[in-house]
């Protein structure tokens, strides 16, 4: 056993030796040369750090990706796309942004509020790089905070649901019970109640807290929707990432019932084409517009900064009309939308 102690001592000594000297160059030092070379070439280099799930989530991250794709098509340039993991610590997120900024990517777009603290820290270290953050407000002269008035679009979805429901019983399925999704529920409920005070809204969340599986479990979305449908609910609004596709599928099996989509215009989603006759409308959140705007502003040499809220007025959030299922109630919806824009209707973000 003495051997073990000597080994342990040797191991610890080696570890300490490494830390004491922290030998060699740091990755940021060696990267600085590539920064200058890239800016010399003049092409737009866009760095984007996705939230957990990354590209292919049919929802939030994909929407940001669409904005990036469009920008590259219009302005040229290259992109570097990195993705978060559930085991990420603050230092992982900071590293991801710092790797991008060090390599000369500008702007660096962070998708999702989990990056808020990391953006604040890195924006201070890289004052010449423009950072973007979705769903969060972060101070900093070189930060574009992109937030969305999703309760407002959910309110409109609630109005549409109330007008279309025959049973007066309406369902809301949330992916994960975080503050952002609760805002969807709050706006939706308020919209229903304001239109038909007697209607009942039942809300259900697929997972809680740090368990983010509710955003990516179509089977659970389907089960939740089937439960609601069997209780006489005939309009279901799902703000649940890809779980919402399961809910839409379940609704499609019940003639006369309607599904309301979220984030993207889900009527137009190729993957959902066979169910589109049941998709009443979608509460669209145009993350792509905000990402595109930011890239464009950097390209034009006037980077967007500060808090940029995307609302109903500028089309940052909206109620999709494709399919024509809500054409008959369009005048009512437009009146409500106008009132929200005017401030006559105050939409709450707390259910």
């Amino acid at each position: 056993m003495r051997r073990v102690t000597t080994l342990a001592a040797a191991g610890i000594a080696a570890a300490l030796a490494i830390t004491a000297t922290a030998c060699g160059a740091s990755s940021t030092q060696s990267g600085s040369s590539s920064t200058s070379s890239s800016s010399a070439s003049g092409g737009l280099k866009i760095g984007i750090a996705y939230d957990v799930g990354g590209r292919g989530d049919h929802s939030f991250n994909d929407s940001a990706g669409r904005g990036l794709d469009k920008a590259i098509k219009d302005f040229g340039g290259t992109a570097k796309e990195l993705t978060a993991l559930n085991t990420d610590t603050e230092s992982d997120r900071e590293q991801r942004l710092s790797d991008l900024a060090t390599a000369g990517y500008n702007p660096v777009v962070a998708v999702g509020f989990a990056y808020a603290n990391a953006v604040q820290a890195e924006a201070a270290k890289f004052p010449n790089t423009t950072f973007g953050i979705v769903d969060s407000v972060v101070p900093g002269k070189n930060v574009d905070s992109m937030t969305f008035a999703t309760p407002d679009s959910s309110y409109l979805a609630g109005v549409a649901a109330a007008l279309k429901s025959k049973t007066g019983h309406i369902g809301f399925i949330g992916g994960v019970d975080n503050e952002l999704i609760k805002g969807f529920q709050a706006g939706f409920q308020q919209g229903v109640k304001a239109t038909k005070p007697g209607d009942v809204v039942s809300a259900q969340y697929l997972s809680t807290g740090s368990d983010l599986s509710g955003f990516s479990s179509p089977d659970e979305g389907k089960a939740a929707a089937e439960g609601m449908l069997s209780r006489g609910i005939d309009v279901i609004y799902s703000a649940a990432g890809s779980s919402g596709t399961g809910s839409i599928e379940a609704v499609h099996d019940h003639p006369g019932a309607w599904a309301i989509g979220v984030d993207s215009d889900q009527y137009q989603e190729p993957g959902l084409a066979q169910y589109k006759s049941s998709i009443l409308t979608s509460a669209v959140k145009n993350v792509d517009v905000s990402v595109y705007d930011l890239i464009k502003s950097v390209k034009n040499g006037k980077p967007l900064t500060g808090n940029n809220t995307y609302g109903l007025a500028d089309g940052g959030v909206s109620l999709a009309t494709s399919g024509g299922f809500i054409n008959d109630i369009e005048p009512q919806l437009q009146a409500v939308e106008q009132k929200i824009i005017n401030g006559q209707i105050k939409v709450s973000s707390q259910p």
């Binding site: 056993m1 102690t5 004491a20 000297t21 030998c23 740091s26 610590t89 790797d99 509020f113």
Partner: protein, 376 residues
């Protein structure tokens, strides 16, 4: 005495052979996967090596390894007793959450504040693991099932309490729900030998002490002897007067208390609060690290450093156009091949031992035969 040293060396070699074999196998399999996807494997490994040795990478790896080491120790304590504590994940999250809540409520001098937070965390972790221990000895519930379920329950409890108006606040700017920030006195010290590389989290010292403590308790105390005996044979331990039930509960409590330390680097050294972004899943990494390290305090450290290295380089691989999932493949193959390699090496060792014993017996028989001849 000389003979003992020789056997020890052989055992050590055999002990090291398995993890080394596993890591080599992992690199071979990964190379094949990379080749199959049309990428050059050696370049990928070179990217990993050169980036992983940068000074800031070293700091990152040490910081990550601190957390993984503690998780590995927590799992290993159970392993040594044949208890599979899958619940380290739930234990450390629940523990860190309550520690963050208590730490945010009081503002004491650092010398009291930090121990208070750490002790709360260890107590909560121990309590949560203890539930599984109690269920096992009183109702015969497998600790595997109990701890898995306790993981989910911990997630639900945290989700319920981590809400504005409960034990947390909403940061309306960032949309993050978080506990009250710890007072500055509750922030653990950091070491910065090289400013360009960033600070090394001071909790590494606690992790090293925990490793020494683990080694000492297991190999130098009666309790450790009892624990290992129960792990090797419950009935033999029972027969020699060890209270097996009490050992099960005690070792679950200790395993949970160490699990309570797992979240501390993230809490005391990094975020200083528990939020919806608190890292999850480290308990499962701990299982892999403990397996790789063969429950040995030095082995676990090497496993933790390797995992930290792989984590660090996965980000850079993604940056260089490789799929970061390739690191997941490496980690997965390491865990699989560790299990296989142990079995292969164990069989080889047993076979060797049998041959040697056979030879010795034969030699003894020959010698005896000769003696008899001489006597005749």
């Amino acid at each position: 005495m000389k003979k003992f040293a020789k056997i020890d060396k052989e055992r050590l070699l055999l002990g090291i052979a398995a993890p080394v074999l596993a890591v080599v196998a992992a690199f071979v399999v990964t190379s094949l996967v990379l080749l199959a996807t049309g990428k050059e494997p050696f370049q990928a490994f070179q990217i990993m090596a050169s980036y992983g040795l940068k000074s800031d990478s070293q700091v990152y790896i040490l910081n990550k390894a601190t957390t993984y080491y503690l998780a590995g120790l927590a799992v290993a304590i159970g392993f040594r007793m044949n208890l599979f504590n899958i619940g380290v994940d739930g234990q450390y999250r629940l523990a860190a959450f309550f520690a963050a809540v208590v730490g945010g409520m009081v503002n004491l001098p650092g010398i009291l504040e930090i121990p208070l937070i750490v002790i709360v965390s260890m107590l909560v972790g121990a309590m949560w693991a203890g539930i599984a221990g109690l269920l096992k000895v009183t109702r015969g519930v497998s600790e595997v099932i109990a701890t898995i379920m306790l993981n989910s329950i911990a997630t639900a409890i945290i989700a319920y309490l981590l809400q504005p108006g409960m034990l947390a606040n909403l940061n309306s700017n960032t949309n993050s729900v978080q506990t009250t920030l710890l007072p500055k006195s509750g922030w653990f010290f950091t070491l910065t030998p090289n400013p360009a590389a960033g600070p090394i989290e001071g909790f590494i010292v606690v992790a090293l002490l925990a490793g020494v403590g683990y080694w000492f308790v297991l190999s130098r105390t009666r309790f450790g002897f009892d624990l290992r005996t129960v792990g090797q044979s419950e009935s033999a331990a029972e027969a020699s007067g060890v209270n097996v039930k009490r050992m099960i509960v005690t070792s679950m409590l200790i395993s949970g208390a160490v699990a309570g330390l797992v979240g501390m680097p993230a809490l005391l050294n990094e975020a200083h609060q528990y939020s919806t972004e608190f890292p999850t899943g480290i308990g499962f990494t701990g299982i892999a690290v403990a397996l790789l390290g063969r429950n040995h305090p030095v082995g676990i450290a090497i496993g933790a450093l390797l995992w930290g290295f792989l984590d660090r380089t996965s980000n850079w691989l993604e940056f260089n156009g490789y799929d970061k999932e390739i690191v997941g493949v490496i980690q997965g193959v390491i865990v699989l091949s560790v299990v296989i390699a142990y079995e292969v090496v164990r069989r080889y060792g047993v076979g060797r031992q049998q041959r040697r014993v056979g030879e010795q017996l034969a030699a003894a028989a020959r010698a005896q035969g000769q003696q008899q001849e001489v006597a005749a």
